[in-house]
């Protein structure tokens, strides 16, 4: 890029870049988001290149140098605004899609729950759960055994049967524990 020497030349060049950017942006907006992004980045590059190539006629002239610094600041702020607008739009679009994404995730979670039921059913987990739910009944039987008098023949017989039942049930629980 060539250099722009003196305030007038610099101001003219900055005006040209701004007008060109406006026109290009309008055209890009009717094309695509990608095109808008391309124009924005290119405009940003031109603005920053402008600041790198703007020169006072005389480096020792503080007034002219400060005028050119102000033009540079204008170009820099415009470049920053262009980039920030680009980020804002991109993040905004991501945010807009979050609700739909959450809905899709929810559908998948529902299907996962359904799959878990399917797998449990294939693994015969229902039977295991039925056996687990019998634990309370067995505990009640154990308690009943304790109140039976072993010295009374009939009660001793019931006690033996309860003991056998409890042991068989415990074996059964161990056997089905592999079902997960």
């Amino acid at each position: 890029m060539s250099t722009f020497v003196g305030f007038e030349a610099c101001e003219k060049e900055l005006r040209r870049i701004i007008n060109e950017t406006r026109t290009s942006m309008r055209a890009a907006q009717s094309v695509s988001e990608d095109e808008v992004a391309r124009v924005r980045m290119e405009a940003g590059d031109k603005l920053i290149e402008f600041t790198e190539n703007s020169r006072p006629k005389d480096f020792d002239d503080a007034v002219e140098a400060s005028q050119i610094d102000r033009l540079d600041d204008l170009a820099i702020n415009l470049m920053r605004d262009l980039n920030a607008a680009g980020v804002s739009e991109a993040v905004g679009r991501i945010m807009e899609r979050t609700a739909e994404l959450n809905q899709l995730s929810k559908s998948i979670r529902k299907e996962i729950a359904h799959n878990e039921t399917r797998a449990r059913s294939i693994r015969l987990t229902g039977i295991k759960e039925a056996i687990d739910s019998m634990s309370e009944l067995i505990n009640a039987a154990k308690n009943a055994k304790d109140v039976l008098d072993p010295s009374v023949t009939d009660e001793a017989m019931v006690r033996t049967r309860i003991e056998r039942l409890v042991k068989s049930f415990s074996d059964l629980q161990k056997a089905v524990s592999v079902l997960g």
Partner: protein
């Protein structure tokens, strides 16, 4: 006797039918599908981290420049981080879904074992209650029931897989489309933010660049006026110059030497930002490729279940393995 033979024949026919059906139904090995889904989840997560780091770098650069836009980048970084979590959560759901499919297949494979455990245990329990007779008859019946249920479990698992995959594939296709668009926008945000950081650096070093170029121009001008070239000056033809001319050139040289370290520092910093940008872009692009590979694998899984052929899941691992090494490179930059 006739009745027993008839029952036996029916049993044999039933078993043959089940073995045939069981042979037709096959359960795919879904381990590579699950592991690729886990890695894909990590790739999407990493892409988010790359973008977030880029937004934070831009914020930091603008804060240093005391620019008003720093607050805008801070807000965008916060919004992006919060909303990207929904993408990671969606990927979590995909992983859980893959695992649930694997669980169905595993249940089908262990059907015979499950049936044996239940049948054996229930029989012993019933025996202790005096409900069924013990001995060999029960043992044979248990084995046969376990075998039969093993075949049924395979068929049920294959059917469950098919049903689940058929029901979920359209949802997954849409999910992948959304995340793909998100990655497109994430890339745009990333590039804008990285560009903002680079341009802030150019602004920071703008005076250095200008000073460097002005001095180089002045030197060339002086040398041209004296009908000399830079090469002449370097071989010290300056002896041909008068004292004022020599002093002027020496002053320019002194100033150039003073600016040079700053100029080099600028170039080093710019190259570092560019390297991170290149590495980040590769991660986002590779994530998009992996996402497409994943949905193709999902569709193939759906088709293969219907056509009773193994799914083609081998290529799936390559794309996601590549991302892991890209992320490592990006982290080391």
């Amino acid at each position: 006797m006739i009745r027993t033979r008839s029952t036996g024949q029916h049993f044999v026919v039933f078993m043959v039918a089940l073995v045939w059906l069981g042979g037709c139904a096959s359960l795919p090995d879904l381990s590579s599908y699950t592991s690729s889904t886990i890695r894909l989840q990590s790739a999407i997560d990493s892409s988010g981290q790359v973008v977030l780091a880029s937004l934070n770098s831009a914020k930091k650069a603008l804060e240093a420049a005391k620019a008003t836009q720093a607050a805008t980048y801070k807000k965008h970084a916060g919004d992006f981080e919060r909303h990207w979590k929904a993408r990671v959560a969606a990927m979590d759901a995909l992983v859980a879904y893959a695992r649930s499919l694997e669980e169905i297949a595993a249940s089908g494979r262990s059907g015979s074992k499950s049936a044996k455990a239940v049948a054996g245990a229930v029989t012993s329990f019933a025996e202790s209650l005096g409900v069924v007779p013990g001995g060999q008859i029960v043992g044979v019946a248990t084995d046969a029931a376990a075998f039969v249920y093993g075949q049924i479990a395979i068929i049920r698992a294959a059917r469950s897989l098919q049903e689940s995959i058929d029901a979920t594939t359209p949802v997954l296709e849409r999910l992948v489309q959304v995340i793909d668009k998100d990655l497109d926008d994430a890339r745009k945000a990333f590039v804008y933010a990285s560009d903002a950081t680079k341009k802030e650096l150019r602004v920071d070093y703008g005076h250095t660049k200008k000073a460097w170029e002005v001095l180089v121009d002045r030197r060339r001008e002086r040398l041209e006026r004296l009908h000399l070239t830079l090469a002449d000056e370097k071989v010290s033809v300056v002896s041909a110059l008068n004292a004022t001319e020599r002093e002027e050139l020496e002053e320019i040289e002194r100033r150039l030497l003073a600016v040079e370290p700053e100029w080099l520092r600028y170039q080093t910093k710019l190259a570092a930002i560019q390297d991170r940008e290149d590495a980040g872009m590769e991660i986002i692009s590779a994530s998009q490729t992996a996402l497409q590979d994943w949905i193709h694998a999902q569709k193939d899984l759906a088709a293969s279940a219907g056509q009773r052929r193994p799914a083609r899941l081998d290529g799936l691992a390559d794309a996601v393995v590549e991302i892991r090494s890209l992320v490592e490179r990006w982290r080391n930059l």
